[in-house]
């Protein structure tokens, strides 16, 4: 803002000079101060007000992610313009909102945004700049013609909101803005219509509702572009999730979050909770304190020797975590593929037939590979990497076999044996133990027993560890979280020359309706040891706290420790509601947001139709649009005038009596007719008389709107009561139904 002030002062000076430079004056707002010249037609207050409301509603969803100062400037500009509307003779304000000073403000803001974000070409700064520009345009708007442009800008700004979130909530938040947009359009379309705002809103909402079927139709059949419309430069945004390194306490911290890591839909049976090891980054590099991902990774083939019937197929919906790894149940036997509903079925039948005929190993896999395009690679350490960092919600198909042993074709790299030599006590302990035992596997079992029998315990709040964290943990504190146990286990293995590595990922997951939610609180670390030519999974946490593996985090921790609410065992109604909401959002993501051109092709297939040509789609859309317009415009019931409401009620009453053999003569007045009805049913005479009064008032009297509405309600109640109390009422109802 400080950049703006000198300019403002200059503009003011130039303005106050009565015989000012004509070049200057051209840029200053003409608000009637320049006597003698006729002011250009100004935008009327109603349009301006509608636009202000629209822009504020459009700005609202952006407030969540914009820097506060940007939001403040944007809202202030709109507020100032409204003040100017009320006080057009306030000279300073007019100068501030002149095109020249607003342009300077926008330039200053661009610079500030560059400073604030550190870069300019990217999603966040560009949206922030657009936000400022739209508000600035509104601030200096004078001519009525600018309104259309502002509407387009507002619509675009509203769309950018979806760069950040595409959940149901995000869609709902934009709904008021959409209504305001339609309202502003209606005002622009018919500026002289003095209809009340409420009436106009009613009209606009009716129009929007009438447009819904058309929007749905276009959503379903309008040809889609493959892939996103434009790819945005990535913004470094912090998000929770596993990282490419692990130090004591890092997973413990992650467990405090009940954010969703990913969701899984299983095609068949759901694996038992102790088998739900979701493999993530594999950490083989160790520097004495930190574990990290090996920088040299080779691509591997997804191999599986065994029965194809053991294969578990599922679909993962991964939340963006800005890293490249994808998660799969241990061990993955396919590459992640795009999720195609139509090919899924065909593919599965292919698998079954192949299993029946052959052993079905590599062929099965290659058969699976053909289905969709691969979305990532499988590395030699069993870790899956996407082709690019996951910055948007990603859905992929995956197949796994529940195995805790992965046979390796090549020798483990040396890095899986490396120890920096800081944990001497552990090494000594390991050597002594190994010498007493016959085999590597017996040694591994012995260590698990050691964890189990010695007073180790499982806690989220371990003590801080010093330079030799493994030594301190193993012999001094004896309390830790899964990463402590996994790290210590691997160190003990490597100390005696057995290759070992830490695997991070998630263990567990919770079923919600028909899919599984895996949360950050399920984050876990375990060990893999290379014994007898295969990588074998050892989970030392299971030896200390078996319930962590069987039942999840909260079962393994003492009651008083902090566990995220949604990871707890006993859940309140709030968690229930949250899970429902999650299920809804998951469906939304699956059915609406992920509806792309592949899904669209699947839609035609499901209808049993060949994929139509573009002209056929156009013809279908035009025909259905025409049909719908005929329905909407042709049915006169849609015109809602209060007069017609009375007529409808009156027709209902006539129909009601006609069914009971009392037909109104054409020349009969309502009063005469109802008097005749009262003679026919003397028991209902009072009610009929009341109706007669009400109708006489409703149809023939000038009533205020409120009274009219109230009387209409009364008439409806009377009609309902009359329908039930007239003889033959129930009969006619049953015959109707």
């Amino acid at each position: 803002m400080t950049q703006v002030l000198p300019e403002k002062a200059a503009a003011e000076k130039g303005f106050r000079r009565p015989t000012g430079n004509s070049r200057w004056r051209k840029w200053l707002p003409d608000l009637g101060q320049s006597r003698g010249t006729t002011p250009p037609p100004a935008m009327d207050a109603r349009t301006l007000f509608a636009l202000a409301i629209l822009l504020l509603l459009v700005q609202l969803p952006h407030l969540l992610h914009l820097p506060p100062w940007v939001s403040l400037i944007g809202a202030t500009l709109i507020g100032l313009r409204l003040v100017l509307l009320k006080r057009p003779d306030y000279p300073l304000l007019g100068t501030i909102l002149s095109p020249a000073s607003v342009t300077l403000l926008a330039i200053a803001c661009a610079w500030l945004i560059r400073v604030d974000y550190g870069y300019f070409i990217g999603r966040d700064p560009c949206v922030a700049f657009l936000f400022i520009l739209v508000a600035a345009k509104f601030a200096e708007v004078r001519r009525p013609g600018d309104a259309t442009m502002l509407l387009c800008l507002a619509a675009f700004l509203l769309l950018t909101q979806y760069f950040y979130s595409q959940t149901i909530l995000a869609a709902l938040v934009t709904l008021p803005a959409v209504i305001a947009l339609a309202h502003a359009l209606a005002i622009l379309r018919d500026p002289n219509n003095p209809a009340h705002t409420r009436e106009q809103l009613k009209l606009v909402i009716t129009l929007l509702i009438q447009g819904l079927p058309l929007a749905t139709l276009l959503f379903l059949v309008f040809p889609r572009l493959p892939g996103p419309l434009w790819s945005l430069p990535e913004d470094a945004a912090a998000s929770t999730g596993l990282s490419d390194s692990m130090s004591p306490g890092s997973i413990g911290q992650l467990s405090q979050s009940d954010a969703v890591a990913f969701r899984v839909e299983f095609d068949g049976a759901i694996p038992a909770s102790r088998d739900r090891y979701w493999r993530g980054p594999v950490l083989s590099e160790f520097d004495g304190r930190r574990w990290s991902v090996s920088p040299r990774l080779l691509e591997a083939n997804a191999r599986f020797q065994g029965e194809a019937a053991d294969i578990i197929d599922y679909t993962v919906t991964l939340q963006p975590h800005n890293q490249r790894w994808l998660f799969a149940l241990d061990a993955a036997v396919s590459l992640p593929r795009a999720d195609l509903p139509s090919t899924r079925l065909a593919n599965d039948t292919a698998v079954v037939t192949q299993t029946a005929s052959t052993m079905g190993t590599d062929q099965t896999r290659s058969g699976r590979q053909r289905a969709g395009k691969a979305m990532g690679r499988l590395m030699s350490d069993g870790q899956m990497l996407a082709t690019s960092p996951v910055t948007q919600v990603l859905r992929y198909r995956q197949s796994s076999v529940l195995l805790d042993t992965i046979s390796a074709s090549r020798q483990p790299p040396d890095s899986t044996l490396f120890l920096p030599g800081t944990n001497e006590r552990s090494s000594r302990f390991a050597m002594e133990l190994r010498q007493r035992l016959p085999s590597d596997s017996a040694y591994a079992q012995a260590i698990l027993q050691h964890f189990n029998q010695q007073p180790y315990h499982y806690t989220l709040q371990p003590q801080l560890l010093g330079d030799a964290p493994v030594d301190e943990f193993l012999f001094d504190t004896m309390a830790g979280f899964c990463e402590h146990y996994a790290a210590a286990f691997v160190v003990l293995m490597r100390s005696v020359g057995i290759p070992a590595r830490v695997v991070t990922g998630y263990l567990g997951g919770e079923m919600n309706e028909d899919y599984m939610i895996v949360r950050q609180s399920d984050a876990h670390a375990w060990a893999e040891v290379f014994i007898e030519g295969a990588w074998r999974r050892y989970d030392p946490t299971g030896a200390v706290a078996p319930s962590r593996v069987e039942q999840g985090l909260s079962a393994a921790l003492p009651d008083d420790s902090f566990v995220p609410r949604l990871a707890r065992l006993d859940k309140g109604w709030l968690s229930d509601a949250q899970l429902r909401w999650d299920a809804l959002n998951h469906q939304w993501q699956r059915l609406v947001v992920d509806f792309d051109n592949d899904t669209q092709d699947g839609l035609w297939e499901r209808l049993g139709l060949p994929k139509p040509e573009l002209w056929q789609v156009t013809a279908i859309v035009l025909a259905l649009t025409g049909l719908w317009c005929t329905v909407v415009l042709g049915v006169p019931r849609f015109s809602r005038s209060p007069m017609l409401a009375d007529e409808r009620s009156w027709q209902r009453l006539c129909e009601l009596l006609r069914r009971r053999q009392l037909v109104r003569k054409p020349a009969e007045t309502p009063a005469e007719f109802l008097q005749r009805a009262a003679l026919a049913w003397p028991a209902q005479a009072g009610r009929l008389h009341q109706l007669q009064e009400q109708f006489a008032n409703l149809r023939f009297r000038a009533l205020s709107e409120a009274e009219q509405r109230q009387r209409q309600t009364e008439v409806r109640q009377l009609l309902t009561r009359l329908r039930w109390s007239l003889p033959g009422g129930s009969e006619s109802l049953t015959t109707n139904s």
């Binding site: 007069m643 054409p666 020349a667 009969e668 007045t669 309502p670 009063a671 005469e672 006489a696 008032n697 149809r699 023939f700 009297r701 000038a702 009533l703 205020s704």
Partner: protein
């Protein structure tokens, strides 16, 4: 420079809603009761006569002598506090006998206008179809223009000038029937008819009410009548009722002499006045049906009695929208 700021605040519009001040229920009731006391058993006719007066129209009564035409005029005048005059129309009546005449005043050597009986509030023109057309038209012009012109000088009539003309049924001898165009100037055509047996019995028992008329207290004055007329104009006429009125006018034109647009306007006025007398601020279709024969009968056939019959048939044919 001290220009007052334009006032933005607007009162919530009350136009059309509760447009009438308090309905003068008590006064109306009293007036109707008094009229009926004089003209026993004829509330129908007295109400219509009052409606006609409030609608600024003129009244034509067609009936045999002796059923109370004069009494009605007398009662109206006395109750409403208006002065009234009676002119007996005869075959030798001259226009000057009705409107007045200019007489040469020998004192000041000038013509002086001597106003005729038409300069009054209520004029009872008895047996109007006995007079020759010239005299009839003099009266009818006065009714329409509410002024008379004698020797090039116009003289305005009373503000609430109201003519009650009576005529004998057309088949009597020595009558000059009013042409249709003249009949159109009467808002309402009524029959009084013989009293029903019970009323007649009471009449015979208690004697003539005319003696009482002289002792009647006026319940209203001219100013109040003006106020009521203004209130009548504000009575709400909804669009279904207007549709109905229009349908009636259309139907009348397909058979016989149709109703003129002036008749349509008069019908609207009469409906409003009638609804007002019923103490309503809106017109019901029932009001239209009630007043329609009185308004349309004499216009469509030239005779009140046959006209009423014709109008009732028409009402049965036109459907309520």
């Amino acid at each position: 420079m001290n220009q007052p700021a334009p006032t933005r605040s607007r009162q919530p519009s009350s136009q059309g809603v509760a447009s009438l001040e308090r309905m003068p229920a008590a006064e109306l009731g009293e007036v109707l009761a008094q009229l009926e006391r004089i003209l026993m058993g004829k509330s129908e006719q007295t109400t219509l006569a009052l409606a006609c007066l409030l609608a600024r129209g003129h009244l034509l009564i067609e009936d045999v002598p002796g059923v109370g035409k004069t009494t009605l005029a007398h009662a109206l005048g006395a109750t409403l506090g208006l002065d009234w005059t009676r002119v007996q129309f005869t075959s030798d009546l001259l226009p000057a006998d009705v409107v007045g005449v200019s007489i040469f005043n020998s004192h000041n050597q000038q013509f002086e206008f001597k106003p005729g009986p038409v300069f009054t509030s209520i004029l009872l023109a008895d047996e109007i179809n006995r007079a020759p057309p010239k005299a009839q038209s003099a009266l009818l012009e006065a009714m329409e223009e509410r002024q008379v012109t004698v020797d090039g000088v116009s003289h305005a009539l009373a503000e609430d000038f109201f003519v009650i003309a009576t005529q004998n049924p057309g088949d009597q001898l020595g009558a000059f029937p009013l042409p249709e165009s003249q009949l159109d100037r009467f808002l309402v055509g009524l029959e009084i008819g013989y009293p029903d047996p019970a009323t007649e019995r009471a009449l015979l028992e208690h004697g003539d009410m005319r003696a009482d008329v002289a002792s009647l207290e006026p319940l209203l004055d001219a100013r109040q009548i003006q106020r009521w007329r203004k209130q009548c104009d504000k009575v709400h006429l909804s669009s279904p009722v207007l549709d109905y009125i229009q349908a009636l006018l259309l139907a009348s034109r397909t058979a016989g002499t149709g109703l003129s647009p002036r008749a349509g306007l008069s019908l609207v006025k009469l409906c409003r006045a009638f609804a007002f007398i019923q103490q309503r601020d809106h017109v019901l279709p029932d009001d239209v049906r009630h007043v329609f024969p009185a308004l349309a009968g004499h216009r469509m056939t030239g005779h009140v009695r046959s006209g009423h019959q014709h109008a009732r048939e028409l009402l049965q044919q036109v459907s309520m929208p």
